[in-house]
Amino acid sequence: MEGNSLREQVAAMRQSLFDEEILDKQFVQMEELEDVHNPNFAEELMTLYFRDSSKLLVSVEKALERPPYDANILDKFLHQLKGSSASVGANKVRIETNKMREALKAEDVERTKSQFQLVKRAHKTLKGKMEPYFHLLRQAGPADAAQPPE
């Protein structure tokens, strides 16, 4: 059925996400937690994540607007971002965030700022890929879930 080719597509997309290391195995954990009660657990979590992380990125942006930069609060934000990225398996975002934290610790303002750009970019990339993925996933629909194809 069309579901098959759709599913194949979904599978391929998913695989590439892993290959590109945009996602890591924590994402698989989330998928494994899906069941009848939470059939779209991974998607729900991702949505939650994007909501929170976007806010965090805005806060970081603000904190970096003008000196003097509050390193403590910046680190707090970054730690949070790192944590939630780890929770959903947002691999690249987590890595870039960590690098930014290190730059911050090294008190390298320039590097911190440039690293922040990378964090934002990784985040944007992830979002850009996850949304169509989930969309397609819903369309393909899990074999036993009653998901009306869109």
Binding site: L33, N38, L45, L48, G83
Partner: protein
């Protein structure tokens, strides 16, 4: 998953484990909730630490364990951990995306059962029930070993007590929940695994006082002492804190607190144990600052030897017995140590805890009699152990400098004692404060040596020396309100020892030739101790120690002890005894070694005077330690 809850808990333990998850990240909360539910646990999530505390306080027995993130906006995860430890005895697991060793260590120090690294995997969560289980088992064991009916016992106990005649005294409400139903129904919630120990107790209780040792002991204790597991509610804790503040840290003691709190069903033991926890909590706070500087390890050597009772307790208790003032404090510290030991996983933490205890203690002053009877007992019993352990600690841990905690008693180590003295020198480096000791002992050593050989002519303990001693002594028990800084105190003892060894080593020539090899060092140290003790006359702690020493001596070989003990006046009398002892060798060396270790604390001229009598009674000290152990040790020592 949730459905499994309906099945009888007994059969499905750990299913139904009630977990409270605290994390400021909603994504994590959701994931953890889902994972835990998959494990068939009953999950409650919380985004804020204060909400979590609130929930926990509301239902003291409402949860079996807590999983908390380290970084939270409203309260540090470690703070929460402290609170949980103080207010309720729940196993807490910390988690963080940060896995730095220092953080993990902090977690463990603060009492966390485990430290998980995010992202957390399902399989890691599946086994968290073991912490709950383990805690219960340990509590039971602690009760046995400590013979203290602190609220160590878990929920089961409380309820259990309730059932017993006196139970009504304590707060019935919360405990009731599970345990009681458990008891009644025989299997309410975690029944099986969870309340294993409690269950045993309760069930045995129910049926009859079976051979359940816990049961007998605890139950009996409970009934007799009329205290059941006390849940320290917020109100109760506040009363407690108010009482403590009112009395003043320096003079705080369980009895006083108890009187002030005016809670009829509360026993002194309850207060004592809670006071320990509280002190630990405070000392931890303090320690965090002093951590780098203080040589917690040193102290540990003294204490570490004992796990449960901890030699520390022993020493403390003994000394306490000797003197009123110091008693309280010492005991407390001992207790603290003990409890610390028991509860904490890492020695480091324990040690630090212990050390910090003293640090904190000074302010508090002596607590008075914290279950004196218990103390008395334990010291004696522990004495042997502590001695051995102390030795061990010295020997074994010395290298670690910070950790002297190896509470095993090995006769063979006695020999090591001598070595340990040397090792102590290591400590010295670790402990900056007590260096003065080295100097002093040296001087002293000289004297003692002479005396030793010739029969102690009352080694004159110069004033300054005494100071050191005092400090040292202080530090060890630290509880007594010694002037020396807590840290110093703490380290003091440790330092003193090394210094002794140093002195001894340096002096070596004196002693060794005169006496048996093993003795020389010991003697020296003893002498030094003596001298110091004399000087210390001022410190009550000494007194206590002296008494303690005395006791120890009797146990060990007495003679030697006496010598050490009676640094001051007794010297004369000691001489005889001492010499005799010395030449008898065997354990003397050992004893001395031990003595040395302990001595710093005990130096107290006042005590010294007491010593003579004791000395000659030697083995007949009030506290009959087990000489056998010592003899073994002695022999071992003798090898040197």
């Amino acid at each position: 998953m949730e459905s499994s809850f309906s099945s009888p808990r007994n059969d499905t333990f750990p299913a139904g484990l009630r977990v409270l998850v605290v994390d400021d990240d909603p994504t994590w909360l959701k994931i953890l909730e889902k994972m835990l539910k998959r494990c068939s646990y009953e999950v409650t999530t919380c985004g804020l630490a204060r909400d979590a505390l609130h929930l926990l306080r509301q239902k003291k027995d409402g949860y079996d364990m807590v999983i908390s993130d380290v970084n939270m906006p409203d309260m540090d995860g470690f703070r929460l951990l402290e609170h949980l430890g103080l207010e309720m005895d729940l196993p807490v697991i910390m988690m963080s995306v940060d896995g730095e060793t220092s953080r993990v260590m902090r977690g463990v120090q603060h009492g966390a059962c485990d430290y998980l690294l995010k992202p957390i995997r399902m399989k890691e969560l599946r086994n968290i029930w073991q912490h709950v289980f383990r805690k219960k088992i340990h509590e039971i064991r602690d009760i046995e070993s400590h013979e203290s009916l602190e609220g160590i016992l878990g929920v089961g106990w409380k309820t259990e007590n309730r059932k017993k005649p006196d139970r009504n005294r304590k707060k019935p409400k919360k405990k009731k929940n599970r345990t009681e139903s458990l008891i009644r129904s025989g299997s309410d919630q975690y029944d099986e695994g969870y309340f294993l120990s409690a269950d045993d107790l309760t069930s045995s209780r129910k049926r009859k006082d079976v051979d359940n040792k816990y049961d007998d002991k605890d139950f009996a204790d409970f009934s007799s002492t009329k205290k059941a597991r006390v849940v320290w509610s917020v109100d109760l804790h506040q009363k407690f804190v108010k009482a403590v503040h009112h009395i003043g840290f320096d003079k705080v003691g369980p009895k006083k607190i108890l009187d002030l709190m005016n809670v009829p069903w509360l026993t002194r033991e309850n207060v004592a144990s809670h006071l320990q926890k509280y002190r630990l909590y405070l000392s931890r706070l303090q320690k965090e600052n002093e951590l780098k500087s203080s040589c917690g390890g040193m102290k540990h050597s003294d204490y570490s030897s004992k796990d449960a009772q901890g030699s520390f307790g022993l020493q403390n208790s003994i000394s306490i017995q000797q003197s009123d003032a110091a008693h309280g404090s010492f005991k407390v510290s001992g207790d603290n140590l003990v409890s610390q030991r028991v509860g904490t996983k890492s020695h480091e933490s324990d040690i630090e805890g212990i050390v910090s205890e003293p640090v904190a203690e000074p302010k508090k002053g002596s607590n008075g009699n914290i279950s004196d009877p218990q103390k008395t007992r334990s010291p004696q019993m522990d004495f042997n152990n502590s001695y051995a352990e102390t030795k061990k600690c010295l020997i074994g841990n010395v290298p670690d400098s910070q950790k002297i905690s190896t509470p095993q008693v090995h006769p063979s180590h006695s020999i090591a004692l001598v070595e340990s003295e040397v090792n102590f020198t290591e400590f010295e480096s670790a402990i900056p404060t007590k260096y003065s000791w080295n100097e002093i002992p040296l001087n002293k050593a000289q004297k003692p040596l002479i005396q030793l050989n010739s029969g102690f002519n009352k080694p004159p303990l110069p004033g300054p020396h005494s100071h050191f001693q005092v400090d040292r002594v202080q530090s060890i028990p630290s509880i007594s309100s010694r002037p020396s800084t807590a840290e110093e105190d703490v380290t003091g003892p440790a330092k003193s020892k090394p210094s002794y060894s140093e002195c001894i080593n340096t002096q070596g020539s004196h002693v060794s030739p005169s006496t048996t090899d093993s003795f020389p060092d010991q003697i020296k140290s003893c002498l030094v101790n003596h001298q110091v003790s004399e000087a210390i006359s001022t410190s009550t702690a000494n007194m206590e120690y002296q008494g303690f020493n005395l006791n120890c001596i009797t146990d060990l070989e007495s003679a030697q002890r006496n010598l050490i003990m009676g640094s001051a006046s007794p010297f004369a009398s000691l001489d005889d005894g001492f010499q005799i002892c010395w030449y008898q060798g065997d354990c003397y060396g050992m004893n001395l070694g031990l003595q040395n270790i302990e001595f710093p604390e005990y130096n107290d001229p006042a005590l010294v005077s007491e010593v003579p009598a004791h000395l000659y009674d030697a083995l007949r000290f009030d506290y009959p330690c087990e000489p056998s152990e010592y003899s073994v040790m002695g022999q071992g020592l003798f090898i040197s």
